[in-house]
Symmetry: C2
Subunit: 363 residues, 2 copies
């Protein structure tokens, strides 16, 4: 089958790492391993520069029509002063919301060859393999009111609203429990029920769903602040962590950084499975951001972006064998000692974005 | 002068570590180094057990009359099912709000003798000395509405509201800038202006205050998720970090854990200076929590609690020399190799709470 793939390279290092995805996709096609109908469009600051919005209606139509979307990264200091509604991140947030990509899966894996790249001790991260399941279409990211009001007298008031309904918590918790069953069968649910009403409801809904349908999975509850600590102290105690949009934002970045493999980690944002077609909307992107400090230098690590293509092949296109080949090629390149700067131990030789993409193809 | 000190030992390990504060305070009085009028009361779960509320009106009156409050810790699984308004944390939150303790100072210091207790590599934490300045009376902790509503059909909706006014951001930022001047002259302000309106206002107010009154201090802005990562990667890049109530909760725990000195770190929560009396309301407490898993075993580390007394002597009682003596005694005990379990390297001999308190007095 030909897979409809939309590439949204975005800003910063996005286009550089996406170029390597195109290289890999082309190679897969030439080798007869997969067939893609690739479209490309803009999102983020580059879309604002072109159209005055962070994502055009045209791009939204393409996004809805695609079997899967690969996104690079959005944002950067260049767009610090654009109107709030048009800031680069608004493009990504609109994709998440309009496509109802409520389940964000962020694996944090420590690649054995990279254990020394972590700021954590080797024994703390070696063999680490956890999965953060982050709720992505609710919470303080989208709740209303979300306003800044002028109170006069030089005073303004800013309001953000965290809103969670039972069904939103239930569907993300179900994703976490299902995934835990395919892994080490343990779910840790994180909130702040001691200060937030949404935390109280979160804990209650997760507990009830567990008792009703997932008693075979081990469930533990943690306060988000304490979980952040434990992620630094001994992350291997976790298997699947399920949490809300804002805590998930912080905790997943933290877990990724702890592994020392930040430039390596892809993520998936998934919608619900459509009962009629069996399909689900899906967007794949690196966990890392647009890294404006190194953009344009050709030194960014393309592995998380290429790994996002592998994830799309596995989860959206049902091409597990091809995904395996890509992932094995990545492992092989690492084993052979090839490194971009972000994952190199001090003193190691490094290679650029393009060389890394080519090395993966060669493998 | 006789200092009016209110001790609220609270729950879990609170009473055990507070007992060592009493031992030290008694010794200081016997040695003629300080004079205290000590009162004690309940807060948290123990107050609920006694009075059905997490802090009694009586205790609130005492708190308002004291020159400084020392608090142990609140909370624990025992009170998981008490009504939301009466949960242990509500006592602490009421103290913060009613006494308007808006400035929470949380130093994260890596004691040289303890660098190996961190899960981070020695070179990453050795010499680390940063200060988190957390806004403590606003944000999502106290904003209204804060509700759970029954929507029918088995659905509930939980709402929490993050509210920040200009003056609240300004006064906490001013504290951060002032403190930076006494340190390494750098402030990092953390928010999520890319998704939160309160983040937009936060960044704007901090920027304007800086331009108006603190141009001599270096100011940098960071997104809270990215800051969490950087705190793990290379925490020594920071001096003073200023942030809101919720981000501050997570980031300060994270920074403390990274130092390896969690059981060592005191914190101060301060109100505004009263123009008439020159006094400010103040509550001092360890950064660590009630640790129900080790409560009652006599093994908790009392150093953060004793350090909180030293902080009170320095900042509320103007007894810097006495505070110095306590802090030097703590350093001396560590240098002599005495350790409670939380700060011992694997294989080291450990001592209990009481032995640690006595060792500090002996020094
Ligand atoms: C770019 C930004 C809006 C986004 C978020 O906050 O969700 C990013 O940090 C992420 O984690 O995907
Ligand atoms: C006990 C709890 C309410 C409190 C908070 O969330 O502020 C604690 O975590 C802290 O950091 O002081």
């Amino acid at each position: 089958a030909t897979h409809k793939l939309l590439l949204l390279a975005g800003d910063g290092i996005g286009p550089e790492v996406m170029a390597e995805v195109k290289r890999v996709a082309k190679w897969l096609e030439q080798a007869g391993l997969a067939s893609f109908a690739i479209e490309e469009d803009l999102v983020g600051g580059c879309a604002y520069d072109a159209h005055g919005v962070a994502i055009s209606e045209d791009a939204m139509v393409r996004a809805k029509g695609a079997d899967a979307i690969l996104l690079g990264a959005v944002g950067g200091p260049k767009w610090a002063d654009v109107p709030y509604e048009a800031r680069p991140e608004a493009g990504l947030l609109r994709l998440r919301k309009d496509l109802q990509l409520f389940a964000n899966l962020r694996p944090a894996i420590c690649y054995p060859a990279l254990a020394d790249a972590s700021s954590l001790k080797r024994e703390v991260v070696e063999g680490l393999d956890l999965l953060i399941v982050r709720e992505l279409t609710g919470g303080v990211y989208f709740g209303e009111p979300k306003t800044i009001t002028d109170l006069g007298n030089g005073q303004k008031r800013a309001i953000d609203t965290q809103v969670y309904d039972t069904y939103e918590i239930e569907r993300i918790a179900a994703v976490a429990f299902e995934l835990a069953r395919t892994r080490r069968n343990k779910v840790t649910s994180a909130e702040k029920h001691n200060v937030m009403r949404s935390g109280v409801l979160w804990k209650q809904v997760v507990t009830e769903l567990h008792a009703r349908a997932y008693k075979d999975v081990e469930l533990e509850h943690a306060l988000a602040d304490s979980l952040a600590m434990q992620l630094v102290r001994w992350p291997k105690q976790y298997d699947v962590i399920v949490t809300d949009n804002l805590f998930g934002d912080i905790l997943s970045d933290l877990a990724a950084m702890a592994t020392g493999s930040l430039g390596m980690l892809p993520s998936a944002s998934l919608g619900a499975v459509d009962a009629a077609t069996g399909k689900r909307a899906a967007l794949y992107e690196p966990v890392h951001g647009s890294a404006p400090d190194i953009a344009g230098k050709g030194i960014a690590n393309p592995i998380a972006m290429i790994g996002s293509l592998a994830m799309a092949l596995r989860y959206s296109f049902n091409e597990g064998a091809v995904a395996d080949r890509i992932e094995q090629a990545i492992a092989g390149v690492l084993a052979s000692g090839k490194r971009t700067g972000d994952i190199a131990a001090p003193g190691m030789e490094t290679i650029g974005t393009e060389a890394m993409g080519k090395a993966i193809i060669a493998e």
